[in-house]
């Protein structure tokens, strides 16, 4: 395609592409998100291609196979959407492809067995499924719809329209004012007002003339979080356009995309998107003939979680060791190569085109007054519908977990929710019925300024309410736990992750996380005494106050919140030497109920220690001394005779 010289040529190209598109052409969209990919989505898309090739004479209009980014409903993968029929097939296997091509694409029949069913209802289209119905997709609108490797698809969906609007109708100051007025807050977790950050960077650049740098933070390392990954893989142009708009507003000419090395697909899609955008003149010199130059370079993170911290990103980009430095000076004052630098999360950048397109007021009306817009969560853990969801800010926790998440699988009870990645807090699920105002007086020893309680009756999910509970909003990870999860064990898990990822520059974080882990290791073995809980709390507060960067300052959150809300469970470990959830290996025993056991011998066969004995058809028994508490016997038992005590 030839280079686009101005905004009207962009419109003309879009119209031309839309006119060439046949609305009757069947499109098969195969989800190639992380979940579906692991389930073999690539084989599914290949099977579709070969099935269509075989039947190529039978179609009026040749169907199109699109491999797209994440559709969101990860627990039901592989997901396939068919338009214009508006069908959503779930759990599609490669062998189903031929049947779908045969029945649905050629004859227009619906394959009932591949539709999503819940409580006896079958749902034909995605928009009817409760999981999707309550969501409000703005950032994810094009994710799962467009082919991320084809800029034409993105242009048809409206990519770069906001850029054209800004370059032709708005001054740079207008762009900043619009973003500021929208109330957009940083989606990486801090929740800092984006427009304010931009203003500061611009002010500093005016005082001290020279370049401004823009960085997109795609170093998403939280366990169980994949929001940014979905955006980068599914709609890379949204990030590029957002950065272009930011560059126009602040007069920047160079942007960096800092993407973690563990996201090879995201890097591939972003590289392709940058190349295609450059070829069309949407990046590079004289963008859309407006005399504005901006280019983006991808920089791969080398596998350090701490490089998600903004000063560590700058160090890493400059070629230094990825360790944070003390702020102030903030990056907006003195960042990359000592120049004002704006670092925003990938999701934040992806919000910008929508704000410019539809206006600040529209955006400010979404969500709640102090947390505007929508937020993407990766809903994982003990919920039936795991996946990627986009909901308006301020949605109640109950709605998010029970209606969208579909409740707890099996017979468990919801126990707690862990938000904001490893350094978020563990908040009891019972808190969902408490308004954030009520939580205010007993806030834990966390930074205690500027929280604005929401006036809702239920606990709403927004920046300030989450902070009020002692947890954080974070990047958007949401891990749901039921009564088979032990909070001591979970706090230990998150702390171990953070201990490994600590850079080791400051003493409280390097030694303190090791020390806290030592306490928790003792507790999980039933050792220690109740005073140790106090000591652990006090050490946690020392880390919050004393650490250098956000990693150390937020690392004690899981411990502090779990002590605050689940002190009984800690005491059960220490005093009674029991793990109520039956998780901590040193405090549990596996035994077989002789009443239920039918003597099938599966447990004995699968036991790695060979410590299950018993005659055929007779109740078996476990030798406690040899048992390593791996739980295999419980997993394989067909009659649930193995129980934990």
């Amino acid at each position: 395609m030839k280079r686009i010289e101005n905004a009207s040529e962009l419109q003309a190209l879009r119209q031309k592409l839309l006119a060439a598109h046949d609305p009757d052409q069947p499109v098969v969209r195969v989800c190639l998100g992380p979940g579906c990919l692991a389930l073999g989505a690539e084989k599914v898309s290949r099977a579709f291609k070969s099935a269509i090739k075989k039947k190529r004479g039978n179609f009026k209009v040749q169907p199109l196979i699109k491999t797209t980014g994440c559709h969101g409903f990860c627990s039901q993968g592989t997901l396939v959407n068919l338009s214009p029929l508006n069908l959503c097939y779930v759990r599609v296997k490669p062998e189903d492809a031929a049947a779908i091509v045969d029945a649905t694409l050629t004859k227009g029949e619906v394959l009932e067995r591949l539709l999503h069913s819940d409580n006896g209802t079958r749902y034909r289209s995605a928009s009817e499924i409760p999981f999707y119905k309550l969501q409000q997709k703005i950032i994810l609108k094009n994710v799962g719809v467009i082919d991320p490797l084809d800029i034409k698809d993105a242009l048809m969906a409206g990519a770069y329209q906001s850029l054209a609007k800004a370059l032709t109708e708005m001054s740079p100051d207008d762009v900043i004012r619009t973003v500021y007025a929208s109330g957009l807050r940083g989606r990486g977790g801090g929740g800092f007002p984006t427009g304010f950050k931009w203003m500061k960077a611009l002010e500093n650049a005016r005082v001290n003339p020279g370049p401004v740098y823009l960085i997109a933070n795609g170093e998403e390392g939280d366990p169980g979080a994949f929001m940014d990954r979905a955006i980068m893989e599914g709609d890379p142009h949204a990030v590029l356009e957002g950065m272009c708009l930011g560059a126009y507003a602040m007069g920047g000419n160079q942007g960096f995309l800092y993407v973690r090395h563990e996201y090879p697909i995201a890097i591939r899609h972003l590289s392709a998107a940058i190349e295609q955008a450059r070829a069309l003149g949407l990046l590079g010199k004289n963008i859309l003939g407006a005399g504005f130059d901006f280019d983006i370079q991808i920089h791969r993170g080398a596998g350090a979680y701490v490089c998600g911290e903004e000063t560590a990103i700058i160090a890493s980009l400059e070629g230094r060791v990825g360790e944070p430095v003390t702020r102030p000076p903030f990056p907006a004052q003195e960042g990359l190569w000592k120049r004002p630098t704006v670092i925003n999360n990938v999701e934040t950048w992806a919000n910008v085109p929508h704000i410019i397109d539809k206006g600040a007021q529209w955006y400010a009306n979404l969500g709640v007054p102090h947390s505007t817009g929508t937020k993407i969560f990766s809903l994982v853990g003990k919920v039936r519908n795991t996946g990627l969801v986009e909901v308006p800010m301020g949605i109640s926790l109950g709605t998010l977990v029970e209606e969208i998440g579909g409740g707890v699988p099996g017979q468990g009870q919801f126990k707690a929710v862990q938000t904001g990645g490893p350094s978020g807090g563990i908040v009891p699920y019972a808190l969902k019925d408490i308004s954030s105002e009520a939580l205010k007086p007993e806030r834990v020893g966390l930074p205690s300024q500027g929280f604005i309680p929401s006036d809702k009756k239920e606990l709403s999910v927004d920046f300030d309410s989450m902070a009020m509970t002692g947890s954080i909003m974070g990047g958007g990870g949401m891990i749901v736990m039921d009564d088979h999860d032990c909070v001591v064990d979970l706090a230990r898990y998150f702390l171990r992750f953070l201990e490994e990822e600590s850079c080791g520059k400051c003493l409280p974080c390097r030694l303190g996380l090791k020390g806290m882990l030592g306490f928790l290791d003792q507790f999980s073995q039933g050792q220690g005494n109740p005073e140790d809980i106090e000591a652990l709390e006090s050490l946690g507060k020392a880390l919050v106050d004393g650490s250098l960067c956000g990693l150390g300052r937020s690392a004690p959150n899981p411990v502090l919140t779990s002590i605050r809300y689940f002190r009984d469970e800690y005491l059960a470990h220490i005093v009674e030497h029991k793990c109520p959830a039956g998780v901590c290996r040193d405090l549990i025993t596996y035994s077989i109920d002789p009443e239920i056991c039918n003597g099938c011998g599966l447990c004995a066969k699968n036991c790695p220690q060979a410590c299950v004995t018993g005659k055929k058809k007779k109740p078996h028994a476990i030798d406690e001394k040899a048992c390593v508490r791996c739980g295999v016997c419980q997993d394989v038992c067909p009659v649930d005779a193995v129980f934990v005590a």
């Binding site: 350090a304 060791v321 430095v325 003390t326 102030p328 930074p447 300024q449 201990e499 490994e500 990822e501 600590s502 850079c503 080791g504 520059k505 400051c506 003493l507 409280p508 390097r510 030694l511 303190g512 996380l513 090791k514 020390g515 030592g518 000591a535 006090s538 050490l539 507060k541 020392a542 106050d545 004393g546 650490s547 250098l548």
Partner: protein, 212 residues
């Protein structure tokens, strides 16, 4: 220059532990405190090198209006009307815990033992890994070798709890000029025993164009 000289210097008025103090522009809270002989403990700060903010012993509580926060004094510039508390409960909590952990990390260091005793920390609840360890990885030696000597013969290797003081690529270093700056700047004397690992066997270095 002359125009700048004539301009009166804007001093920053604030208080440390209730005592009114004035900081020159560019001074940190720690530097101001030292000018007024107010003691704030630190292990990693040294006037010869740029502040690093690693040991976190120099934390102070800063109150400004209704806001209060704990930050390191070596890197934080004061602002007008700031109230600095060097011994508040939050500050002491951080210091005591850091010192207690240091007692386990560097059990052989007399300096750390003395400092901890000043804050009432005499025993540690944490396990001691190496009873002969003195190095707390404060980064002074690395900084002096890079910034002052300008050779970069020392560096940190690995990350987090595995962090180690090393020579680049873990081999005896031809860059080392044997100046001894790292030894003299070390707050605990840990480098005395390590200098030979850094510079290698001196007898083998003669004839290679080096000073020794």
């Amino acid at each position: 220059m002359s125009a700048q000289k004539r301009k009166p210097m804007i001093l920053i008025d604030f208080t440390i532990d209730g005592q009114p103090v004035q900081a020159r522009p560019g001074w940190s809270i720690l530097e101001t405190a030292r000018a007024y002989r107010i003691h704030i403990p630190t292990l990693c700060f040294h006037p010869a090198i740029s502040p690093w903010g690693g040991c976190r012993l120099c934390v102070v509580e800063m109150r400004y209006g209704k806001r209060s926060k704990v930050a390191v004094s070596c890197l934080t510039p004061p602002v007008h009307e700031l109230e600095v508390l060097t011994n508040s409960e939050r500050v002491m909590n951080v210091r005591r815990w850091v010192l207690e952990m240091l007692l386990a990390e560097c059990p052989a260091s007399r300096e750390i033992k003395n400092l901890a005793a000043q804050y009432g920390v005499t025993a540690t609840r944490f396990p001691i890994k190496d009873p002969h360890e003195e190095c707390l990885k404060c980064g002074r030696c690395v900084a002096v070798c890079n910034e002052v000597v300008g050779v970069g013969a020392l560096t940190f290797g690995s990350r987090g709890v595995k962090k180690q003081l090393e020579t680049p690529y873990r081999v005896p270093n031809n860059l080392c000029v044997g100046c001894g700056c790292c030894v003299s700047i070390c707050p605990t004397g840990a480098l005395q025993a390590r200098l030979d690992t850094v510079r290698g066997d001196i007898s083998r270095r003669t004839g290679h164009g080096f000073a020794h």
